[in-house]
């Protein structure tokens, strides 16, 4: 009898404990994609320690430059200062986050600096106003001349937190700068703030390509009459002629490990693709076709090469193994597809293709699917080159008869002209 009572009691208890399990049954809803919206961020004027006057106007210089560098990444909308409703008397030194969420600023940067002579100490803070919390605080000390570097470092911190990767401020874009009938190789920073001339051959010089370590740059020049292949160091020097076969010696991309350089040579009759050992100069022929094969680039893993060939009657992009085997056609839409550039993430290839007789920039998956046009008509856009993080493309954009170097986000937004020039080649990160 006792056991019966115990059993029944156990059943009741079991049912009693099972009852709350009803709460574990859940429905699921899918939210398929976020809204494509830039991060709205407010940057206040910096405060200064002490009673000295701010002769250099740093209280405004810091927010101005933070805004500038955040904006050129293409991921931020800077909330205009006119919209600020923060009242220091009311907040009394505290941050009233509702003052910022009310005006649509999801993020807030505040800063404080102190200086004596040329010494400068800056404290910058990033707040998440929605969640009402400090996300990052950094203090930089140095000279007043270091202030731009301080701003860039904090912008990189913000980018890392909000987008998962730092910016590409410490990269350069090499390009061809036309000077009358001649052209020289130059390099410009991502923000367009500094330019440097890398060659002075006083001849037609073209097709710059960076070594992976950023110490060398290769190009083709008609300096001695024939289009020969040269390599020069960034630190100076006149450069060294590396390949001078009869006919075309056109510079191609460096392998990811820097041991090989791809070339287009016409020494055997028509343009074929070769891989040159960057140390010994030994060349290996990769393509054997009666058609023209040009513009070779490596895949990021160094196992494949994309190139342009007109073997099917029109210029199209092909992919082959790094030893020249297993050639496959990549592009099938459009009748003029050239200038391939392989994304550093490896999943897409950018190229130029004619749309209504005008070149525009496209990308395509490496399996040949999903071609997407990034630029639209109104100007001609050519020569895409990926940034090392794969988030931007440098291109040649022609309008009014002038070639200009422009950069844009990899989805075609945030188009920004840097300078006059053509044939951009984006470097890796500089240390």
């Amino acid at each position: 009898m006792k056991s019966t009572i115990v059993s029944i009691s156990a059943i009741i208890l079991l049912i009693t404990f099972l009852a709350p399990c009803r709460g574990a049954a859940k429905d699921y809803i899918d939210i398929d994609a976020p809204n494509f919206q830039k991060f709205p961020i407010a940057i206040t004027g910096f405060t200064k320690a002490g009673t000295d006057s701010d002769k250099e106007g740093l209280a405004a210089w810091f927010p101005d430059n933070l805004s500038k560098y955040l904006e050129i990444t293409g991921y931020f909308n800077i909330v205009p200062r006119k919209a600020f409703i923060e009242d220091p008397a009311r907040s009394q030194g505290n941050i009233l986050f509702s003052d910022w969420t009310t005006i649509g600023a999801d993020y807030l940067v505040k800063g404080h600096f102190s200086g004596q002579g040329r010494d400068l100490s800056v404290q910058m803070r990033l707040y998440d106003t929605v969640r009402g919390e400090l996300m990052r605080e950094k203090k930089y000390t140095g000279k007043t001349t270091d202030r731009k570097e301080m701003v860039i470092q904090f912008v990189n911190e913000i980018l890392l937190l909000l987008t998962g990767e730092r910016g590409v401020f410490n990269t350069q874009i090499a390009y061809v700068h036309k000077q009358g009938k001649n052209s020289e190789i130059r390099a410009i920073t991502f923000d367009g703030s500094a330019q440097k001339q890398l060659t002075n051959y006083r001849s037609l010089t073209l097709a710059p390509r960076w070594s992976p370590d950023g110490k060398w740059i290769s190009f083709t020049s008609y300096r001695d009459g024939n289009p020969d292949f040269y390599i020069t160091g960034l630190k100076g020097g006149t450069g060294k002629k590396v390949s001078s076969y009869p006919g075309l010696n056109l510079s191609g991309a460096w392998s990811p490990n820097g041991r090989k350089v791809l070339l287009t040579l016409s020494k055997d009759g028509n343009q074929e693709i070769y891989a040159m050992d960057s140390t010994s100069g030994y060349i290996q022929r990769l393509t054997y076709d009666h058609a023209i094969d040009v513009s070779p680039v490596w895949s990021p893993d160094g196992k494949s090469v994309a190139f342009v060939s007109n073997r099917a009657g029109s210029p199209q992009i092909y992919i082959m193994d790094s030893d020249g085997k297993n050639v496959k056609r990549l592009t099938h839409e459009g009748n003029y597809n050239t200038s391939p550039s392989w994304s550093p993430k490896g999943n897409r290839i950018a190229y130029e293709s004619t749309v209504g007789g005008v070149f525009q920039i496209f990308t395509i998956s490496t399996d040949g699917t999903n071609p997407q046009q990034l630029t639209s008509q109104g100007r001609e856009n050519k020569h895409p080159s990926w940034s090392p993080d794969g988030r931007y493309l440098a291109i040649t954009s022609k309008s009014g008869g002038t070639d200009r170097i422009a950069v844009m986000n990899a989805n075609g937004t945030n188009f920004r002209v840097l300078c006059e020039g053509s044939n951009p080649a984006w470097s890796q990160y500089f240390q």
Binding site: T16, R22, K26, D30, D32, F36
Partner: protein, 245 residues
């Protein structure tokens, strides 16, 4: 003898007491069983740890939004007190940048409006439940379907509310098909509590964007008045399949 008689009547009383206890337990058991299982039949009980069904909601089409009944779903559900919030939501939607081409194509290809899609799935689920519960009366199954229908309307509203608050710039994701699943409990008054990740995306900024969206969407409209539970447990799957154009 007296003592014997006394002990005999004591034994009889003991047996009677035991019978009464058993009877009481059986009655309690029956009542408890009824109490436990009766409401569960009407609210589609699911004793599973994982998802019973997952619904794919697509963007509300213009035609759906222009329908009178759906033009102010928050107002219908939450009453006049939340109408201001619904207006804010609409305002934000209008300030967003135009969707990319691919997204528009997706809209075109998905001709079924979100609610119809959800209702269809819920309907399938209800039918399946009814088939299993052979003893359930037809009236209950109809009530269950109606309840799920009404819950579908609520899901549509909160889906729209959360989606409108989930923002990221285009083109920042390193790969396609990023997914994170969040578990939330929605209280009767619409407050979101107990947010936890069932599955993280592996990208801190992506997961943070989800938490921010939920924070901005909080509080959601109150649960429908007919919903008798204290709170609603819900899984929300955030996908970025078309984040990278």
């Amino acid at each position: 003898m007296t003592s014997l008689n006394y002990s005999g009547s004591q034994r009889e009383e003991g047996v009677r007491l035991s019978r009464m206890i058993i009877l009481s337990l059986v009655i309690h058991l029956a009542l408890l069983t009824l109490a436990v299982f009766w409401p569960m039949r009407t609210s589609s009980p699911r004793f599973t740890l994982g998802p019973v069904y997952s619904v794919q909601l697509v963007n509300l089409s213009d035609t759906l939004m222009s329908h009178k009944q759906m033009s102010d779903p928050l107002g219908d559900l939450a009453g006049p007190s939340l109408r201001e919030q619904s207006l804010v939501m609409k305002k934000r939607v209008t300030t967003q940048t135009a969707p990319p081409i691919r997204k528009m194509e997706t809209k075109k290809s998905l001709s079924n409006p979100a609610v119809e899609n959800l209702r269809k799935k819920l309907g399938e689920k209800t039918s399946a439940d009814n088939a299993k519960a052979e003893s359930s009366p037809a009236a209950n199954s109809a009530a269950s379907a109606e309840a799920n229908d009404r819950l579908a309307n609520y899901y549509t509203v909160i889906w729209s509310r959360i989606k409108s608050q989930w923002n990221l710039p285009g083109g920042i994701n390193p790969k396609d098909n990023i997914e994170a699943i969040v578990q939330v409990r929605i209280m009767q008054n619409g407050t979101i509590t107990g947010i936890s990740f069932e599955k993280k995306s592996g990208l801190a900024y992506f997961d943070n964007s989800i938490l921010r969206a939920l924070k901005k969407a909080n509080p959601l409209p109150p649960l429908p008045p007919w919903y008798r539970e204290n709170g609603l447990d819900l899984g929300i799957r955030f996908l970025s399949s078309d984040l990278r154009r």
